[in-house]
């Protein structure tokens, strides 16, 4: 009897969470995905990426939680297809290039219109103010402000500062996300 119970428990525990990584092109989404896929990549080691035409989808395990992570390309031509992948999404990781002050406005627009989507109504939101290692990068507060996150209501969300290439800040963000998703159930 006990065996059966633990079987159900493990079954439940292993239900895959569906996560989307979104953001403009060059923000660091693919770098972040592959750091998660291969945690053995050391902090400070470099992950090389090429522009994503379409999407990458990978399974990521974090603290016994299984995530199915979709990294969608951020080029203008591909953004319209994001919506094809919204349904059944548990969380969105929105990545911002903190050093790209020119396009932070566009980044905000994309975020706003994405959050308006009905299919994403229940999704947890993590914003990563990435590329913090670059000099002249906006601070977390500046990014928070520029994206207009103050206006967010009824959304489980948190913003973190990260440097994907250096691997800094990602762990904290993932830990928060894992907790948020477990609590939500």
């Amino acid at each position: 009897m006990g065996g059966l119970l633990s079987y159900f428990k493990s079954l439940f525990g292993s239900r895959e969470m569906r996560i989307l990584i979104l953001g403009l092109d060059g923000a660091g989404k693919t770098t972040i995905l592959y750091r998660q896929v291969s945690p053995e990549i050391l902090v400070g080691e470099v992950v090389t990426t090429i522009p994503t035409i379409g999407f990458n989808v990978e399974q990521v395990t974090y603290k016994n939680l299984k995530f199915q992570v979709w990294d969608l390309g951020g080029q203008t031509s591909i953004r319209p297809y994001w919506r094809c992948y919204y349904s059944n999404t548990d969380a969105v990781i929105y990545v911002v290039d903190s050093a790209d002050r020119d396009r932070i406005g566009i980044s905000k627009q994309e975020l706003v219109s994405m959050l308006e989507e009905e299919e994403l109504r229940g999704a947890v939101l993590v914003v990563l103010a990435n590329k913090q290692d670059l000099s002249g990068a906006m601070s977390v507060a500046e990014v928070h402000q520029a994206l207009g996150l103050d206006a967010l209501r009824a959304r489980t969300f948190q913003i973190f500062k990260t440097s994907a290439t250096k691997g800094e800040g990602l762990d904290t963000a993932m830990e928060w996300l894992a907790n948020a998703l477990t609590n939500k159930k």
Binding site: I53, G54, F55, V57, Q59, C84, N88
Partner: protein, 835 residues
């Protein structure tokens, strides 16, 4: 409707289709929504994808919207790691890539799969990736394609090469940059990789002949391991040989070395190539035939088939080369494979001796009903060739053919039989009556209109000249009663010919034609009325012109106005001759001359090259004592005006220039005529040959291209440009102008025998000839410098400008004598040429 329902039910009961028997597009696409669910159910999704692919293979078409939706749903399946499902997804991508929009969405995922660790994905991912890639996207995957081409895994390398080959059409420029990689792959030990690599290299260089030559010489000397690649090299080498007939013997040596290859495929390819090369002579042929002979006794049916089929082809052109294989072919007659047996027999028919024919025909008869129409045609063609070769065998052969005619068969097959019978009849006078009898019997029950019409035509042509023409009337008239309008009309025309040619039958034919005038079809009635009207006149020349001629000019073209006129119909339409004569009479200077009746006007001949600035054509008008040369001149330069255009002629001895009429003004693009009237020599022998050297003389003025008026800048006191050489312009003061003519040398004008002969379209040569009487016939023997009979016939017809009668311009291949009937009416004498 009912029967359709029953069919469907039958199918269901048969239960053959199972899962896929009654798929419906809408339902299946509905099911495809399952792709969007997480977690993915690989087994179910694989099944749904299979259904979609099945529908597409059945020819079902998806709209852009449907395809795009399905495609995007399918992309969700990339989250599953199930290998079978992923490979199904690749297939789905390939199939939908042409219909769905924005298919590039899977580029990254496929690129990852093609470079990833899972070998089972890589080749298929490459193929899928290339199907969604256009030349703008190709650059971004170029690096991976190059890597794939030189990959260690043969399947990956082949996939890269073949996909590149497919992309050649749209992105040739990019693919050309991958030549180094392809060259590396061409050294592969793997047979397919090497084949695909050389294939790609050839595709890249195809348009550059020198590069292809290099390619072939490189890989032929390298002793390529892959038999596929060797076969391809054989084909490329053949193409090179055909393009350049006088190249050296390297390729020939290569082909012959391939005959000794260890792979049967290569040996056959080489033999086949040698046999089909135009340049192949007996020396080259014999080793090829030897290997084919060996294949004839191979235990593999495909090899036997290939060999005998190729030998069959050789036998058509060079039967003697195949005689050596007769024994092997004999063994194949009883081959369990009917196709092999048929080809063996027909080959033997072409190569064998007269004595073996009866036996072979019996053999064929035993299984002819079991083979397909296509092969039956092969049999018939073989028989046709036999009839030409052994005319004495026509009895056996015709009986066989007519038995074939009675059996089931399509139009092509029946037409081939009828054609063969017709050839026999035309070739072989002894066979005529039997042949016609067979054909009569056939049209009694012939479902092919076209064929029936042809046979009726033949009956009308040949029937009246047989011993007992009346026996055919019944068969022909039966058609009028029983068949469709087309056949009825043809039957009426055939009847009319009997009426015109056989006096005893005329009255009866008139009665029959009368009945035909009651027909429900316009064309049939018109023909009947038309022919009756002519026959009732009882005028030989009338019926010869309007019943018998018509058969040469084509069916069913009754002449204009024929039925209304009581006069001789020739006066009704104005001929080219009459128009030209009228034109000449309109020129006062010519009308004043005592020329008499125009006998013949030639076709225009060019005296200048077609590209020149001034174009001159000459028409020769022949009169009883004179020839009028009409030079039609055209000025193609908009900024020039020619004045005082004359043609000066060098008059040969015996001829005499009577009068010359210049053309005062030749404006741009408006033709103008210069006439020269020449009196012919009194000696008719001399009159038949005359060569006139011609020079065009004229004055040139520059003019305004818009108005055509001489340039005002060049007032009369100023200068004109006079051209003396097309390349050089001279300027001359006006006052000298009259003394400076421009001379243009023209081609010579020749007056020859042909100009004095008139083509007469004589329907029935024999009766016209007989009507001439002995005193008008002369027989002479000529030695002619022509290589073949065909050449001689065409040259003579052209030289004499005569009309060949009774289709006697067609020379039967392989004959040494030929009678050419030419109809002539001449002004001064009558000439008929026999050969």
């Amino acid at each position: 409707m009912n029967s359709m329902k029953r069919d469907k039910k039958d199918e269901e009961e048969g239960g053959g289709g199972g899962l896929f028997s009654s798929l419906d597009k809408t339902t299946v696409l509905q099911e495809a929504r399952l792709f969007n669910e997480t977690p993915v159910n690989p087994r179910k999704c694989t099944q749904i994808l299979t259904k979609i692919l099945y529908l597409l293979m059945q020819g079902e078409e998806l709209g852009t919207r449907e395809a795009t939706d399905t495609f995007f749903a399918m992309t969700k399946l990339f989250q599953s790691k199930d290998i079978v499902l992923r490979r199904m997804v690749y297939l789905g991508i390939k199939e939908l890539s042409t219909v769905a929009e924005d298919v590039i969405i899977v580029t990254s995922s496929l690129t990852k799969d093609m470079t990833g660790k899972e070998d089972l994905y890589r080749a298929a991912a490459i193929r899928a990736l290339c199907s969604i890639t256009d030349s703008s996207m190709l650059q971004s995957i170029e690096r991976y394609m190059k890597q794939a081409i030189v990959d260690k895994s043969p399947s990956v390398s082949s996939a890269g090469l073949v996909s590149s080959l497919h992309l050649m059409a749209s992105s040739g420029e990019i693919i050309r940059r991958w030549v180094n990689e392809a060259q590396e792959a061409a050294n592969s030990d793997n047979m397919l990789v090497q084949y695909h690599a050389i294939g790609l290299l050839y595709a890249v260089r195809k348009t550059d002949r020198l590069a292809v030559i290099k390619l072939v010489s490189k890989y032929t000397s390298l002793a390529v391991r892959s038999p596929f690649a060797t076969c391809m090299l054989i084909r490329i080498a053949c193409r090179l040989m055909e393009d350049d007939p006088d190249n050296d013997s390297t390729y020939q040596d290569f082909l012959e070395s391939c005959l000794r290859h260890k792979s049967e495929m290569v040996i056959y390819e080489a033999a086949h190539a040698i046999v089909n090369l135009k340049r192949t002579g007996a020396r080259e042929l014999s080793p090829a035939v030897s290997v084919l002979q060996l294949f004839c006794s191979s235990p593999k049916a495909t090899l036997r088939f290939a060999a005998v089929r190729t030998l069959n082809k050789v036998a058509m052109r060079q039967p003697t080369a195949v005689t050596a294989c007769n024994l092997d072919l004999e063994n194949l007659i009883s081959d369990s494979n009917r196709s092999v047996a048929t080809l063996a027999i027909t080959t033997l028919l072409k190569t064998g001796a007269e004595s073996s024919i009866d036996r072979l025909m019996k053999q064929i008869a035993s299984f002819v009903s079991e083979i397909s129409d296509e092969f039956k045609v092969v049999v018939v063609q073989a028989i046709r060739a036999l009839c030409v070769k052994f005319p004495r065998k026509h009895g056996v052969l015709m009986t066989f053919l007519s038995s074939l005619l009675r059996e089931e068969g399509g139009l092509d097959y029946k037409a081939a039989i009828a054609d063969t019978l017709i050839t026999i009849i035309e070739e072989n006078p002894e066979a005529k009556e039997t042949g016609l009898a067979h054909l009569c019997e056939f049209i009694e029950d012939c479902e092919h209109t076209a064929l029936a019409v042809r046979i009726l035509h033949l009956l009308g042509k040949e029937g009246p000249r047989t011993n007992k023409p009346s026996r055919y009337i019944r068969f022909i008239y039966n058609r009028v009663i029983l068949e469709n309008a087309c056949v009825r009309a043809a039957a009426v025309s055939a009847l009319a010919r009997f009426g015109a040619l056989v006096d005893e039958l005329t009255t009866n034919i008139l009665v029959l034609l009368c009945r035909c005038e009651m027909d429900s079809d316009d064309e049939v009635r018109d023909r009947a009325a038309y022919y009756r009207c002519i026959l009732e006149n009882q005028d030989r020349s009338l019926s010869s012109h309007f019943i018998l001629n018509e058969f040469q000019e084509g069916e069913g073209e009754p002449r204009e106005g024929m039925l209304m006129t009581e006069k001789k119909p020739s006066a009704v339409t104005k001929t080219r001759q009459e128009t030209l004569a009228q034109q000449l009479l309109n020129i006062p200077a010519l009308a004043a001359l005592p020329l008499g009746q125009l006998f013949k006007s030639s076709m225009p001949t060019d005296l200048t090259e077609s590209e020149t600035e001034y174009v001159v054509q000459c028409i020769k008008h022949v009169f009883p004592q004179h020839v009028v040369l009409q030079f039609e001149c055209r000025n193609t330069l908009p900024d020039q005006l020619l004045e005082n255009v004359r043609i000066s002629l060098e008059i040969p001895a015996g001829f005499e220039l009577v009068s010359e009429i210049p053309c005062p003004r030749l404006e741009y693009n408006t033709p103008g005529n210069v006439y020269s009237c020449i009196r012919l020599p009194d000696d008719p022998q001399l009159a038949m040959e005359g060569t006139f050297e011609a020079t065009m003389k004229f004055v040139v003025k520059d003019c305004d291209p818009n108005t055509g008026l001489p340039d005002s800048d060049y007032g009369y006191d100023d200068e004109y440009i006079v051209r003396n050489d097309p390349e050089v312009y001279f300027l001359f003061p006006l006052r000298f102008l009259e003394y400076f003519w421009f001379y243009l040398q023209l081609e010579e004008v020749e007056v020859a025998t042909g100009d004095f002969l008139v083509k007469v379209i004589e329907g029935d040569f024999q009766s016209a000839w007989d009507g001439l009487g002995e005193e008008n016939q002369v027989t002479e023997t000529f030695e002619l410098p022509y290589k073949s009979l065909e050449e001689a016939v065409t040259k003579i017809v052209k030289f004499l400008s005569l009309h060949p009668s009774e289709r006697s311009d067609r020379v039967q291949a392989g004959k040494t004598t030929h009678t050419l009937y030419l109809s002539v009416a001449s002004l001064r004498f009558l000439l008929t040429s026999f050969l």
